[in-house]
Subunit: 217 residues, 2 copies
C-alpha cells in the first residue's frame, strides 16, 4: 500500500529541515519505506479537505490504505511498530524508547517552541528583549538535565531508536539560537543523528521541495 | 508484579487533580490495576535517587519489576498496550487513539501550559496583563478546532480510549481560567470523562493525599 504524507508547499524555514514532515521522512527512511508526498499550501491547510485529515490544520499527515493519521509522534510510532529499525526488540527497551519519544515532544520541545513565540509570534512586542533570557534559561534547564542523562553515550538508551529520532529533531530547532552549542554533548548527539544516511536522505528530499522554483512562478 | 508510581507529597494544586499522577491513576483504574504510590517532596524530586528514575526531576514515574518509565504519555501507553480498557481492538482505531494521545500532549497542552507561565511563572512581570489575552486566543484557536472535530460525539473516535483520557486531563487544566466554558461541547466532553467511575476513584485517591495533614506537621 502506498504511504502518502503531507508537507508544506513551501516551508517557513526555507528548507532547513525543521518542518515536522522531516521527522516522518526520516522515520520512513530508517524503515526503508518508499512514500509519496502531497504538498499543501498555507491556505489549503485551513480548508475542509485538509482539516478532515488533520483537525488542527497542520502538516504532516499520513495515509496508508484505510488508515489516516496526524501528529508526528503518532506517525513515527506507527512506522516504528510495524517495521524494523526504530524500536528495540526487547519489550522493556521498547517501552523506554516510547518514553523518550514523549519526553522529546512533551518535555523538551515545549520550552523550545516558546523561543519561537518570543522571537516571531510576539517578536514585535515590547517585552521581547526582557522575556528572551527567561525563555532561554528554561531551555537550558532542560538541556542540562538531558545532557546529564545522555552522559557519554551515543544514544539515549542503547541503540538508536525512535526516541532519538524525535529528540534529535527537537534539538535541531535550537541550532539557529546558538543554545545547542552551549552543550557539547548534545551538539555531538545531534550531529550523530544528522550523520545517519536515513536523515541525510530525508533532509535532501525536503530541501528539494523547498529549493524548487516557487509554485506561484 | 507490584506497580509503583510517584506523586507529589503535596500537589501545587492542593488536590484539584491537575497533577500528572492523576492521569496515570486514572489509566490504572480504567484497567482495573492495583498500584502503590510513593510520595516525593519538591526537594527530593531534584535529588539523584529520583533523577535516576526521571531525568527531568518530575512526577509521575512508573515502576513494575525491572521496568522503570517516566513521561505520563508513555506510562499511559504502556498500561493501554498491556491491559484491556484503554485501546480499541481494531489496529487502525488503536493507531488513531495513539494519535489523540499525542494531540492532547503535543498540540493542545502546550498553549495551555503557556497560561501557567503567563499567570504564575511570569506573574510578576510587567507584560502579564498584555500577554494574557494573546495566550488565551492561542488556546481558543485549538479549542475551536477540537470542538469542530468532536462535534456531537461522546468521544474523539468511537469509544472512550487513552486518547480521551489524556485530552480530558489536558482540558481540565483550563477549568480555573473559565476558557473551557466558552466551548459547551468540550465542557460536556470533560464532564463525561470526570463522570467515569475510574476517574472518580483516581481523583479521590489523589485528593486523599493532598487533604491529609501536611507531612511537615
Amino acid at each position: 500500500m502506498t504511504i502518502t504524507i503531507t508537507a508544506f508547499e513551501r516551508s517557513p524555514d526555507g528548507g532547513k529541515g525543521l518542518a515536522r514532515d522531516t521527522r516522518v521522512r526520516w522515520a520512513l527512511e530508517e524503515a526503508g519505506l518508499p512514500y509519496a508526498v502531497r504538498l499543501v499550501s498555507f491556505h489549503a491547510m485551513k480548508e475542509a479537505a485538509h482539516l478532515a485529515l488533520h483537525p488542527f490544520g497542520q502538516i504532516p499527515t499520513y495515509e496508508e490504505g484505510d488508515l489516516a493519521l496526524f501528529e508526528t509522534g503518532a506517525i513515527v510510532m506507527h512506522i516504528a511498530e510495524h517495521h524494523p529499525g526504530l524500536f528495540p526488540a526487547d519489550a522493556n527497551a521498547r517501552a523506554r524508547a516510547i518514553t523518550w519519544m514523549f519526553a522529546a515532544l512533551n518535555t523538551v520541545e515545549p520550552p523550545i517552541l516558546e523561543l519561537i513565540i518570543v522571537r516571531f509570534v510576539e517578536g514585535d512586542k515590547p517585552w521581547k528583549d526582557e522575556r528572551l533570557p527567561l525563555v532561554q534559561d528554561r531551555i537550558r534547564t532542560r538541556l542540562t538535565q538531558l545532557a546529564a542523562r545522555l552522559g557519554d553515550a551515543d544514544w539515549l538508551d542503547g541503540g538508536f531508536s525512535a526516541g532519538d529520532l524525535l529528540m534529535v529533531s527537537v534539538l535541531l530547532r535550537l541550532r539557529p539560537s546558538g543554545l545547542l552549542n552551549e552543550f557539547p554533548r548534545l551538539a555531538a548527539y545531534v550531529a550523530r543523528g544528522e550523520a545517519r544516511p536515513a536523515y541525510q536522505r530525508a533532509f535532501a528530499a525536503q530541501l528539494a521541495v523547498n529549493a524548487a522554483p516557487s509554485p506561484a512562478g
